[in-house]
């Protein structure tokens, strides 16, 4: 993430954006900022990282709005793709030990005793391999269709289905105690 010189960069880059008006940009921002932020927040686990990532995604859009082709998908899919790339870059930097391309991992039960239910879920989703995690987040939390997820993550439909299936299986395994007790005995929210 760049330091706060971004304002200067934004101002300087105004000249480069020829096909996107200021109103278009603001509209794209207002419509998509929350989806992108929640996605980045759940992918990275950090609010500050999510803010940086979403900021950089919109900076990229403003600098190179011609990169968006309406014929290939919605603005949301395009921005999610940009945000996804930035989030994966960030994960590569912050968690070099984590294998990003591994999408077939099987994860065992987590030690989540003592946490609140929301925190347990967060811990379990965060433990998924990144490709499973992003697919699950987009499907379960942002309710994107499988086709939209495929466009955003640059994956075939079959790969999306497979990752989603594995992610759910892993979560069931990790969260077994919560699923069996139906919300009693763990945490305080249930």
């Amino acid at each position: 993430m760049l330091p706060r010189d971004e304002r200067i960069l934004l101002t300087l880059s105004c000249k480069l954006a020829v096909d996107m008006t200021d109103a278009d940009f603001r509209d794209a921002y207002r419509t998509n900022k929350d989806v992108l932020y929640r996605y980045a927040r759940r992918m990275t686990g950090w609010a500050t990282a999510a803010e940086d990532i979403v900021h950089d995604a919109f900076l990229a859009l403003w600098r190179n709005s011609s990169g968006y082709d309406a014929g290939r998908g919605t603005m949301r899919s395009y921005l999610l793709g940009v945000t996804r790339n930035l989030a994966l870059q960030r994960l590569r930097r912050d968690r070099p030990h984590e294998e990003l391309d591994e999408d077939a991992s099987v994860i065992g039960p987590l030690d989540i005793a003592g946490l609140e239910r929301g925190e347990m879920v967060a811990r379990a989703v965060g433990a998924l391999p990144p490709l499973q995690r992003e697919t699950l987040i987009l499907a379960e939390y942002e309710e994107l269709s499988l086709e939209e997820i495929g466009r955003a993550t640059n994956a075939e439909l079959a790969a999306v289905k497979s990752r989603l299936h594995r992610a759910r299986e892993n979560l069931r395994r990790m969260l077994t105690p919560l699923l069996e007790t139906k919300g009693t005995g763990y945490g305080t929210n249930g």
């Binding site: 304002r7 900022k33 932020y37 929640r38 927040r41 900021h55 929301g118 925190e119 989703v125």
Partner: protein, 105 residues
């Protein structure tokens, strides 16, 4: 009716709530694109601490220097009033010695 495994998992996943984008993001993304005059009124500049300290010391030193009473200096001779453009040496010099009694007369 007992919920299915999928429905139970879905419901459980929803217990992880994440807030929407904060206002600080609006400021960062849209704030830099406001007109220059708005930026002039409401803008801010980040200054590194060493620079801020140096500026503060400089201002204090300047303030002290301005407040201190100045020493009175002797009046300067207006050398620019002397104009030698039409100066001519005298042709005849007559020396007269005058005493005090001559002056009185």
């Amino acid at each position: 009716m007992e919920p299915t495994d999928d429905a139970r998992l879905k419901r459980l996943l929803r217990e992880w709530k994440v807030e929407d984008a904060p206002r600080s993001l609006d400021e960062r993304v849209l704030g830099g694109r406001q007109p220059w005059w708005k930026a002039l009124i409401g803008g801010s500049v980040r200054v590194p601490v060493p620079v801020a300290l140096a500026l503060a010391v400089l201002f204090v030193a300047m303030g002290v220097a301005l407040m201190r009473p100045r020493a009175v200096s002797p009046p300067a001779i207006a050398s620019s009033a002397i104009d030698l453009a039409n100066f001519r040496p005298v042709e005849h010099v007559q020396v007269r010695i005058m005493r005090g009694s001559d002056v009185d007369q």
